[in-house]
């Protein structure tokens, strides 16, 4: 039991002692490379815990670009003297592409593990132009079968650039602005191509680029060039529309090519090698379009075109629609110009056209179709005018103007007129400007300035005069109101009248209340007239009247009637219906007399 513990302790002890120990080293496959070659830089990390180390960070290596990386790991177990020791090796392989010739240093690569940094030695690399490796022997299939092996030197070249290259073919050396150029990149090879890919997308400055062809698989044909047999493949085809003038550069196309060398013997399985090849840079002269003879409606169409218009019907009902189609076909920058514009025609509504551009595979020829849906809104005869289309003819080197036919259209009355809402509405446009028309007044009135007219101010004076008048009236009223007795005197007759009215009513009905009404009425009337308090006794009233000196007969009549009233009202049996009419007549006479006399 104790033994097992001891062994375990030993193992753990070793573990802890050696666990931190890892080894890092780097090396290259060759120290002298060509610019077309690929340099392999390997970083190896070995040790018990190598698999726990992160991928080493590659420092920036000047004049080299990393084109690929690859990693692998292997583990080995060694048993020495019965003691088992395991070791893991991690290998990181970086493919470096030299960028120019010269002597360069690959800086030390450092790996961090458990706070410790392991550093490799720097490596010096010499880069030469071209390739240091001998060009691999060309594929047997491309050897000229007719020249046989006897004269191997006739067309055979060992130089890589003779056996593997890209050409850029340009269909035109000099073009006008907007005139398309087709550039075809072809890969020529006398090797077996294993794989290829584009290094980067060329930058076509000053051009509008349309891709015509990009291969998706290897597709080689046999061809002879300069008397030699090659496998050739179109790797890229673009149509370029110059947007600038002057000498424009067509950039080279760069590709990574993997070739496979042929096995030379039974044991030689051949190998694959990587090459970066570039086509030669070319240029093209782009001329400006001539200014002279440039039509006003020129909108940038360059090439050779034809235009035609068509109309779906010549006769229709209002509210119905028809199509008007413009077709521009030909070779040139079909995508880069504006089609001719239809003018506004009142009562014909052109719906935003549907434009389809059918470009052929070559990207420089095709057809542009502009389809208008037109709604006839009112009946009448209309003409769709002839449209002009101008373009620069590159073959004749001059501007040309084409015309479409004009179409006459008859719109008959329709049942319902389609009035589309929304977008179809437009503001009424002012077509001209002028002064307003003269005014035809029926009655020519002389404008009287009221402020200057007498009548106006006269009215003011009248209005103003109403104030003192009202003031006088108000003063008068005040006076009357203050003199209450005066008022009583004035109103006495009214009171008497009121009582007499009720009295006459009682008289008609032969009622004893007649006497009461007469007595009270006369009493109050006289009190008001004499300016003495109401409700004074008869005796007092009579004596007051006597003082004022009333005619004797009236006074006696008054006394008489008062007596009669008292008799009828207060003496039992004093009232008789027979006397009432006579008494009423008498009262009337007395009242009449009194009101006539001035007291």
């Amino acid at each position: 039991m104790k033994k097992i513990f001891a062994i375990l302790f030993l193992i753990i002890g070793f573990e802890t002692i050696f666990s931190a120990e890892i080894e890092v080293q780097s090396y290259v496959d060759k120290t002298k490379v060509g610019t077309q070659d690929i340099l392999k830089l390997t970083v190896e990390i070995s040790g018990k815990n190598a698999d726990k180390v992160n991928k080493p960070h590659l420092p920036k290596i000047n004049n080299f670009s990393v084109v690929g990386s690859y990693s692998s790991s292997s583990s080995s177990v060694t048993i020495i003297n019965g003691r088992m020791q395991s070791s893991i090796t991690k290998t990181y392989e970086f493919s470096l592409q030299p960028q120019k010739a010269g002597k360069f240093i690959i800086p030390p690569i450092s790996v961090k593990y458990k706070h410790k940094t392991y550093t490799t030695e720097p490596i010096t690399i010499t880069v030469v132009e071209g390739s240091t490796e001998p060009a691999p022997p060309v594929s047997g299939r491309t050897r000229n079968p007719y020249s046989s092996s006897s004269s191997n030197s006739d067309n055979y070249s060992n130089k890589l650039s003779d056996n593997l290259f890209i050409t850029a073919e340009i269909d035109k050396k000099s073009v006008f602005e907007g005139e398309p150029i087709t550039v075809t990149y072809k890969l020529y090879s006398r090797y077996d191509i294993y794989n290829l890919d584009f290094e980067n997308e060329p930058n076509f400055n000053g051009f509008w680029k349309e891709d015509v062809y990009t291969p998706n698989r290897l597709n080689f044909r046999r061809t002879t060039k300069n008397g030699r047999l090659y496998y050739v493949m179109t790797v890229r085809k673009v149509a370029l529309f110059p947007t600038q003038t002057g000498r424009l550069v067509i950039p080279p196309l760069a590709m990574n090519v993997q070739i496979r060398t042929e096995p030379r013997s039974f044991f030689d399985f051949g190998e694959t090698r990587n090459y970066l090849i570039k086509s030669k840079q070319k240029s093209v002269l782009v001329k400006e379009l001539p200014a002279e003879g440039k039509p006003a409606d020129f909108s940038g169409a360059v090439g050779k075109f034809t235009i035609s218009g068509s109309i779906s019907t010549n006769e229709l009902k209002a509210g119905d629609s028809f199509t008007y189609t413009l077709k521009i076909s030909g070779t040139g920058n079909l995508n880069n110009f504006d089609p001719p514009q239809l003018p506004q025609i009142s009562n014909l509504r052109f719906i935003e056209p549907e434009i389809t551009t059918d470009i052929n595979k070559d990207k420089i020829s095709g057809t542009k179709i502009i389809k208008y849906l037109v709604i006839a809104q009112e009946k009448g005869n209309y003409t769709i005018p002839s449209l002009t289309f101008s373009y620069f003819d590159t073959s004749e080197k001059r501007y040309k103007t084409l015309k479409t036919k004009s179409y006459n259209l008859v719109v008959h009355e329709g049942e319902s007129i389609y009035v589309p809402a929304g977008s179809s509405q437009s503001l009424v446009l002012q077509e001209g400007k002028d002064i307003g028309f003269i005014i035809k007044t029926e009655k020519l009135k002389n404008t009287v300035i009221y402020f200057d007219s007498f009548l106006f101010w006269f009215l003011w004076i009248i209005f103003a005069l109403s104030v003192p008048i009202t003031f006088v009236i108000a003063k008068e009223q005040e006076k009357t109101a203050r003199n209450l007795d005066y008022l009583r005197q004035k109103q006495a007759k009214k009171i008497l009248k009121k009582y007499m009215k009720t009295a006459s009513e009682y008289a008609r009905k032969n009622k004893p209340e007649f006497y009461a009404a007469v007595q009270v009425g006369l009493n109050n009337y006289l009190a008001d007239k004499l300016k003495i308090p109401r409700g004074s006794t008869q005796e007092f009233i009579i004596s007051e009247i006597e003082k004022r000196g009333l005619p004797e007969d009236i006074l006696s009549d008054l006394k008489n009637i008062f007596d009669k009233c008292n008799k009828a009202r207060f003496m039992p049996g004093g009232f008789s219906e027979k006397n009432i009419q006579n008494d009423y007549k008498e009262v009337q006479r007395i009242v009449n007399d009194i009101s006539k006399t001035k007291i």
């Binding site: 028309f437 035809k440 003011w460 009248i462």
Partner: protein, 254 residues
């Protein structure tokens, strides 16, 4: 007193009715002549009416149109201004004046005013002089009515409501009176003038020996500051001042 008012009104009505008949005849004739595009004869008829003492915005407007058709831009502008003087809310005259001003050689758009002065300007033009007179008369009538009411009912303790209304009407009256007075002054003002000659040179003094200050062209509207010996000191809308000869322009006056 009442009789005299009625008499005055009757007199006025008959006087106008009598002359109107004749004038309407001429006016109709002038309109038909204009419609036949005989602008110069139409103009003579219209001008005859003006010489008969007719003051009417429509008439001045029509005269302006005749002058415009006869390519006398200065006169046209002058008469549109006259029409606007008689009736400041004459929309047609305002429009035509604006349009005619686009033909003058000198740019004379009114500089952009701030919103407050623009408001007063609009208020000023909204009420014509006679409308203001009527408004003032009605307000005066209301004030007098309320005063009378207060006098008659002096004994009543509740006087707040009439006094309040009296106050409101008096303030309105004062406002309109100021407006009316300004408008009336403007109406009788004869400081505005329109250049009728093709062009005129403004000098720094009332003589051709003085320095040339500016050149203005037909249709220019300006104000006259003072007049001396056949020369007038004028002020252009842009603030420039100078002396020009009197026979170059005509004042906008009725």
């Amino acid at each position: 007193m009442k009789k005299s008012i009625i008499l005055a009104i009757l007199f006025a009505v008959t006087f106008f009715a009598f002359s109107e008949n004749q004038h309407d005849e001429i006016f109709r004739k002038a309109v038909t002549t204009y419609e036949q595009k005989d602008f110069s004869n139409s103009l003579q008829l219209f001008l005859g009416l003006e010489n008969n003492g007719i003051v009417n915005a429509d008439l001045f407007y029509n005269i302006g149109n005749c002058y415009f058709r006869l390519n006398k831009l200065g006169k046209a502008i002058l008469y549109y201004k006259k029409a606007l003087k008689v009736n400041s809310s004459h929309r047609a005259a305002e429009r035509n004046l604006k349009y005619a001003l686009t033909f003058t050689k000198d740019k004379q758009t009114i500089e952009k005013e701030d919103s407050i002065s623009l408001f007063f300007h609009k208020l000023f033009n909204f009420f014509s002089l006679n409308l203001l007179a009527i408004i003032l008369l009605i307000l005066f009538l209301l004030i007098i009515f309320i005063i009378n009411l207060i006098i008659l009912r002096y004994r009543e303790t509740e006087k707040t409501v009439p006094v309040f209304f009296l106050f409101v009407f008096i303030s309105l009256f004062v406002l309109f009176a100021i407006l009316g007075y300004l408008k009336w002054k403007h109406f009788h003002g004869e400081n505005e003038a329109v250049l009728l000659s093709q062009s005129a040179i403004g000098y720094s003094g009332p003589n051709e020996d003085f320095t040339r200050v500016f050149t203005i062209h037909e249709g220019m509207i300006f104000t006259i500051e003072k007049t001396e010996n056949g020369w007038s000191l004028i002020k252009l809308p842009n603030g420039l001042g100078g002396w020009i000869k009197n026979d170059n322009f005509e004042r906008v006056k009725i």
